[in-house]
């Protein structure tokens, strides 16, 4: 039987980790992720899991230990945020390239400098080309559900890539919310037993991970990673379907809200999607045809599916919680990629980008309402007056 508990997002993630019972967790504390591994360390100390918990001296070492343990044949998890993720950067590529199905809880926080511990998405956007799968979570429930699914996705023989599950630092990581926690046995049955195909600890079949790989084969190994990414989208959907059936949820590549008959839509990931949903309802009460699309899967980027879902709109407003400095119009990464996706799939809809919430700046319903009202005006005139707006920044 599942039960409802009042949990922070981090406690929900730690609970998922307890139920998954990974062989190895190597992690270093960093705000706002710390309470995840701290809570999980309690589970280890209390004997509730069989996990080998490796306390390391940095995130670079944390991810290195994860790669080693994964190559050895262990089911491996970790958690980090912001500068911790940045310090892992070198090893993130190695984890993906060595095809280590590591699952990471990533609590999104602004990168320094100036130093800031609050939410934005600059950390995760820095790893978008690393070869990791990246999924967003609106709240603790989704972080919990996504983490459980991530194990199955990462370890699928057609994928074998690491997965990062994002949630918003403090906003959901530290907020108490109602989370449905499934029965331990059901979660364990869902994730199943990890059967690594090429474990280093299989001493009967000695093998090498990470050898020198020059101009003669390196490129072929990169091509294999592309193939795995292409399989990943199908696997994510298959795992979601099984998960939805078993736990009565509704996960897909993204979540549309009142989008079907909408004329304008906002695209926004993680916790702000929850606020935007309230704004949609309010504007719908006024008779305005507005909708919402909340991305769940960012890597692999479901370009065609997104283009399909947005093709009927008269205006699209993307909300980005980070900036791709120096990119076209200094826009945010979500906007840039979505704009390319729509253009290449023949969807011609006026688009604007709204950068918001950097360094944990609050994003309030009236600000999101302004985005919708801008979009409604664009839908009427067909003209985008300002391509990129830095929402609520003081002039």
């Amino acid at each position: 039987m599942s039960k409802f508990e009042a949990l922070t997002g981090n406690a929900a993630v730690a609970t998922a980790m307890r139920q998954i019972n990974p062989d190895v967790v190597a992690a270093y504390p960093i705000t706002p992720q710390t309470s995840t591994v701290q809570t999980f360390a309690d589970f280890v100390a209390d004997g509730l899991v069989d996990t080998e918990f490796v306390c390391v001296e940095s995130e670079h070492s944390a991810m290195s230990a994860c790669v080693g343990a994964s190559a050895a044949g262990a089911r491996v998890m970790t958690a980090t945020a912001a500068n911790g993720l940045a310090l892992m950067w070198e090893i993130l590529y190695i984890a993906a390239s060595n095809r280590c199905p590591i699952v990471m809880s990533l609590v999104n926080r602004a990168l320094s400098a100036p130093i800031n511990i609050h939410c934005d998405h600059s950390d995760v956007m820095g790893i978008r080309d690393s070869g990791w799968l990246i999924l967003f979570s609106e709240n603790g429930q989704e972080a919990y559900d996504n983490l459980i699914q991530a194990v199955r996705i990462a370890e699928h023989p057609d994928v074998l890539l690491p997965v990062a599950i994002c949630q918003d630092g403090f906003i959901t990581s530290h907020a108490l919310e109602r989370v449905e926690i499934y029965d331990d046995a059901d979660v364990r049955a869902f994730v199943g037993e990890y059967k690594p195909q090429w474990p280093l600890l299989d001493l009967e079949h000695p093998k090498t991970y990470g050898p020198l790989d020059f101009y003669d084969y390196y490129y072929e190994h990169k091509r294999q990673q592309v193939e795995a990414m292409e399989h990943a989208q199908r696997v994510i959907l298959e795992v979601a379907e099984e998960f939805n059936r078993k736990f009565n949820r509704n996960y897909g590549l993204f979540e549309p809200y009142r989008l079907e008959d909408a004329e304008v839509a906002v695209i926004v990931a993680n916790s702000t999607a929850g606020t935007a949903r309230v704004v949609v309802d309010r504007l719908r009460d006024e008779g305005l045809k507005v909708g919402l699309l909340k991305p769940r899967v960012f890597r692999p980027f479901p370009a065609e599916e997104l283009a399909d879902a947005l093709s009927h709109l008269k205006a699209v407003a993307v909300m980005d919680r980070s900036i791709s400095f120096g990119a076209m119009d200094n826009a945010g990464p979500l906007f840039l990629e979505l704009a390319a996706a729509l253009a290449l799939h023949g969807v011609q809809v006026p688009m604007a980008d709204y950068v918001y919430g950097l360094g944990g700046r609050d994003i309030l319903p009236h600000e999101i309402e302004r985005v919708y009202r801008d979009a409604l005006r664009v839908a009427e005139t067909g003209r985008v007056e300002r391509r990129v707006t830095y929402l609520s920044v003081r002039e």
Partner: protein, 117 residues
């Protein structure tokens, strides 16, 4: 040259799934200097065999004597020449720099381009 295989035909992630296959990787082509064996001077102490990083010192299993170099794998690093105790005992004048290819040496290192059979 072995035939290069496509991305579908090779293990993922650069993994090498069979052990002991470095024998298939012929590193002799890396060599800029070739070790040349002065058999008459050799005392068969096996220091070169012990130190060679590429197992390229050939030893006659019958009489356990050093007989030469396996040039398919020898990268010409010169460790054998620098560890050789016979080389160390070559008598030279005060201040004389010993060339790496001096004929008095037991193991000489000769530039590949200048080597003649």
């Amino acid at each position: 040259m072995t035939e290069l295989r496509g991305w579908r035909e090779i293990p993922i992630g650069g993994m090498i799934l069979e052990a002991g296959n470095s024998v298939e990787y012929k590193t002799g082509g890396w060599r800029a200097f070739r070790p040349v064996f002065g058999e008459a001077k050799c005392i068969h102490c096996m220091q070169c065999w012990l130190f060679c990083p590429d197992s390229s010192i050939l030893v006659d299993p019958e009489n356990e004597k050093m007989v030469g170099f396996d040039l398919e794998y020898c990268k010409g690093c010169g460790i054998c020449a620098s560890i050789c105790p016979v080389n160390a005992k070559v008598i030279r004048k005060a201040g004389e720099e010993l060339a790496r290819d001096d004929p008095r040496l037991c193991i000489r290192m000769i530039e590949e381009g200048k080597f003649q059979e």
